[in-house]
Each structure stands twice: as C-alpha cells, then as structure tokens.
C-alpha cells in the first residue's frame, strides 16, 4: 500500500485535522501527528487488517536544541505481510522531563527502545512498566544526547573528562 493510501485511511478514521503535516522528503515517508494521540493511531495501524503494521523497527528520539525548543520521537513501522513502511513523528515541548505515551502495550519491542530514549534524551514514556536507565549507570547525571549536555566533572571520585 502506498503512503498516500495509508494517510487517506488514517484521515478517514480520525478526521482531516489529525495529520498535522506530511514529510515527503523522509525515507520512508513520514506523517507528523499530535503527541497526545500517538497510542490511538498506533493501535489503529497495528490492528487494521489492510495496514497491519506488525513490526516496530525502530524508535528514535531527537533533541532539536534550545533554540527550536522542541524534542521529537520518530517511529519506524513495517508490515511484514504487506511489505510497506511508514514513519510517524511526534513533536513535544522541550523541558526537563517531557512526556510521551508509551507503546509497550502494543509492541513489546518498544520497551527497550523507550528505555534507551529515556536514558539518552530524558523523554519520559508514561505507562511504561519499567522506566529505568538502560545504557548509562543508574546514578549518572544528565542525558548525554541532549544538545546542551555537559558531562559531570566527577563520577564517584573518578574524573570524567580526561
């Protein structure tokens, strides 16, 4: 199914204003939606019998920096039986603990991806069963992939910068 058909199906289901914008330059092509409605959309994409996005390939968190003052989460979906791709992006206000709803109820693979984003970018996924750091030590300060990240001077008496 082509990208346009997928967008049409989504618009029929949720109304014309649901899709905020389309990013046709992206590969695979992306739709941008409101972050508060991500779970509704994903349940629809996962369960619709013509779309059937059974596989969540990747979740990426992005920090656009203090100037733009937004953070983004990009979801890469793939349907194994129909062989079609989709990227869904949501944008949120940049803050100390921005929040996005978790997708662990739909795809179990979201568990570790979301923990990684929480760890490296500090985006909190509400409804996640086990929101702990995954790559960095539990008592590490700050989130390294934020654009304004500055590493702590000492970690347990060990100089961080060498």
């Amino acid at each position: 199914m082509s990208f346009e058909e997928i967008v049409d199906l989504v618009k029929v289901k949720f109304g014309g204003g649901f899709v905020l914008s389309l990013d046709e330059l992206a590969t695979p092509k992306a739709m941008v939606i409101d972050a508060s409605r991500i779970v509704e959309l994903m349940v629809f994409l996962h369960e619709h019998d013509q779309l059937y996005f059974d596989s969540l390939s990747c979740i990426t968190g992005l920090d656009n920096g203090a100037e733009a003052n937004t953070m983004e989460v990009a979801y890469n979906l793939y349907s194994i039986p129909y062989n079609h791709h989709l990227m869904v992006k949501v944008s949120i206000q940049r803050s100390e603990q921005p929040e996005v709803d978790s997708l662990t109820g739909i795809w179990k693979t979201a568990d570790w991806h979301e923990r990684e984003i929480y760890d490296l970018l500090g985006i909190n996924f509400t409804g996640h069963p086990d929101m702990r750091r995954i790559l960095m030590p539990a008592d590490w300060e700050g989130h390294p992939l934020r654009k304004d990240y500055a590493e702590q001077e000492f970690y347990r008496g060990i100089k961080v910068e060498y």
């Binding site: 330059l25 596989s55 992005l62 990009a74 890469n76 795809w107 179990k108 693979t109 086990d130 539990a138």
Partner: protein, 405 residues
C-alpha cells in the same frame, strides 16, 4: 597532572553501580537471587543477568547492559559521515563489513548516489560481507558449543574463521575492524590473486561444514541440550522486533536480502533456510543453530557467484577506480532516513537526520539486532532451568559491542 591520584578509595564506591531490580527482602521464601556476569564466559561479553530462581527453575531474568557503552551516537553527532565508519565497525565487531555496508548504503541513499555505483564495487561489497557473515556465524556456532560443554567445535570453527580473517586482512590490512567499505566506493580494489585464493577457500570450507554437522548439529548430546528449549513462537518474536536467524528459526521466511533486495542480492541465487522443528518444536534453540549452519552454506553459494562475476563480466581492469564515486564532501540535503540491512544477527538499522547545512549528522541512531533480540530473554528463559538459560543466551547470538553501542 601525571602524578596526581585520580581515583580515591571510598567505601561508597563499592556500592553496586547498577542496583538490582529485585530486592532480596521482596522475594518469596523459596526464591533466590543469583547474579550471572558481567565477567562470565557464557554471557558472551559483559552482560549481567539478574536471575530470580526457585531451586533450579528460573522465575525471571533481568538483563543489565551498558558495560560496553562507548557513546556511538554521541560520537556520530560530532564527526563527518565518512569518519563514523570506523565506529560502525566497533558496533558488531564480528561482522564489521556488514555494518559498514548498511551504513554506507544509508549515506549513499541520502546523497542520491545509491544504485549508481560500479557493479564491481557492489559485488566486492557483497563478497566481503558474506565472508564476514560466515565468520560471524562460525563464532556463533563455535561458542555456542563451548557454552553447553562441547569445546572441540569452538576450536574447529575458529580455525576455519582464521582463513576468513586472513583473507580480509589481505584486502584491507585489518583483521576485524576494516574501514573497507567507504561511502561511495571502497578503500581499495581486491588484491591480485584474491579471487583464486577465495575460490580455494570455498572448496576447503564445504567439507568442514559437513564435519560440523556430524560433530555438533546432529550430535545426540547437543540435541538433548537444545531441542525443545527456549521455544520462540513467531508472533511473539515479531512483537518483540526479533529478526535474523532467530526469527527464521521460528519458521518465518524473512530475510532483508530478499525482501528489500538491496545491492546486487537480487541477481544472486540463494535460499532462505527456516526452522522446521526437526528435532523438537519449531523455534527452539536447535532450530536457530541449524538455521545458522545452513546459512553458512548459502553464504558460500553467494561467494562463489560473486567470484564468477568478479572474474567474468566485472573482472579487474587497469582503469577501475573503486574510489571514483567517493564524494569529496558529504553534505546531504535536509531529510530523515531510516535504512536497514540484513546483518548476521538480524536487521541492522540506521536512522539519520541531516540538517542540510553541515557535513555532520544532526542525529544518527543505530538500531542493533543484538540489542533488540536480547530483550526477549525473559520470555524465553522463565520457567526453564538455569542450564537452559545458558543455552538460550548462546542461541540468541549477541555481540555486546552492538547491544551497548
């Protein structure tokens, strides 16, 4: 500065750096908390497993990862696209060529030169990637045997892998971390005489795979340890994002070399082996191992076809320049791109965001197959024995360099 003491002993430092998820006081009276790793040979690197057991039975497994975290994504944000390739090598260090191939394809797609490379370059890329896939599967099979008590296959597989490493060393000078596939081309053409040596290798290795079958795969003890252990149903696997030999072991014919048909794979003839549950249930540890052994044969088929092309239609010429298409400056237009390729362990994906103004990616995320495949371990191991947990970890075939990045 040189004489300054940097590390001061403090009792607080002995606290666990990563606290356990379960606290001993919360466990039931018959349960016990056991810590496996991070320094344990059967965890294939620095993986720590927090295991709640009831006698010999595993109640739950919580993997603790990150001991080999080397900030790949942070590094990638600070240097030009082409300089990130050595870091990509260090993700899955057993299959660096495959990772480079995926990364280079992604950047080429952003630049719009994808599919325009000389055919010889593409065939060489596939050739070295398949050689590396063989090497990676040899380590997976050999060390899996060692995990569950058969030490001989480990030595045999590493002996055969040595041939591959030496050939790859001949190509580019490095044994494991190659930096050979460049964005837009290759570091060098194949050395003179390589094709003949490689053909010799394929005729050498085929009987060795038959030996492996008799020594390990069809060995009664091996079957007893792996059949019906760690059964992964295919729908659960897809929900967990499992890919590669693990998903194929569960019976789904899903290989990105066929599905996406990238590079010159559509021109090559090879099969996708899938698990059939011959020794037990579909999707058990034995099926996954068997799929890997069969894939070695398919890789040899691909290598032979590449060699035919590289000595025939696309043979070495005096004016062939593998760096002809290598861009002087890599500055893609502003865009988001997700690229994926079939690594020995599964789907390796890269998410790029280019801002169009610099030679440095705004964001580069690596989606490692080992990372995602490892996340299912609790589902596979709970309810089984501790000895089976070791068999399951080995059958997932993780490389911690990629899990932790």
């Amino acid at each position: 500065m040189a004489n300054q003491v940097q590390y001061i002993f403090d009792n607080e430092n002995l606290r666990n750096s990563e606290p356990q998820k379960h606290k001993p006081e919360d466990l039931k009276s018959e349960e016990m908390l056991i810590n496996i790793g991070p320094q344990h040979p059967s965890t294939h690197g620095v993986l720590r497993l927090e295991v709640v057991t009831n006698g010999e039975e595993v109640v739950s497994v919580i993997p603790h990862i990150g001991y080999l975290h080397r900030c790949f994504e942070k590094h990638a944000e600070s240097m030009p696209y082409n300089q990130t390739i050595p870091f990509v090598d260090r993700m899955d260090y057993l299959a660096a060529m495959n990772s480079e191939h995926a990364y280079a394809m992604g950047v080429e797609k952003m630049l719009g030169i994808h599919g325009q490379l000389p055919k010889r370059v593409e065939y060489i890329r596939v050739l070295v990637a398949e050689l590396n896939r063989l090497g990676s599967h040899f380590v997976a099979l050999g060390s899996y045997g060692a995990d569950i008590g058969a030490l001989t296959p480990f030595f045999w597989m590493l002996r055969d892998r040595e041939h591959i490493l030496r050939m790859l060393e001949w190509i580019c000078g490095a044994r494991m971390l190659y930096n050979y596939i460049w964005v837009g081309g290759l570091f060098y053409d194949l050395p003179v005489g390589f094709e003949e040596r490689c053909l010799e290798f394929t005729s050498y290795i085929k009987p060795k795979l038959t030996e492996l079958d008799t020594l390990l795969i069809n060995n009664k003890i091996f079957i007893d340890r792996t059949a019906n252990v760690g059964v992964l149903p295919v729908d659960l696997g897809i929900n967990y994002g499992i890919t590669g030999p693990m998903l194929r072991g569960s019976g789904l014919k899903y290989d990105l070399r066929k599905v996406d048909g990238y590079s010159v794979y559509p021109e090559l003839d090879f099969d996708i082996p899938v698990g059939k549950g011959e020794m037990g249930t579909i999707g058990d540890c034995w099926d996954r191992t068997w799929v890997r052994a069969q894939e070695c044969r398919e890789s040899i088929k691909i290598i032979e076809q590449c060699l035919v092309q590289l000595t025939g239609d696309h043979k070495r010429t005096r004016d062939f320049d593998p760096r002809k298409m290598v861009p002087k400056k890599i500055r893609p237009k502003a865009q988001d791109l997700y690229v994926r390729a079939e690594n020995p362990k599964g789907e390796l994906g890269f998410f790029f965001r280019a801002d169009g103004r610099s030679d440095v990616p705004f964001r580069c995320k690596g989606r490692g197959p080992s990372f995602v495949n490892l996340s299912i371990i609790n589902e596979l191991a709970k309810g089984g024995l501790i000895a089976d947990l070791i068999a399951i970890v080995g059958s997932i075939d993780i490389v911690l360099g990629e899990v932790d990045r």
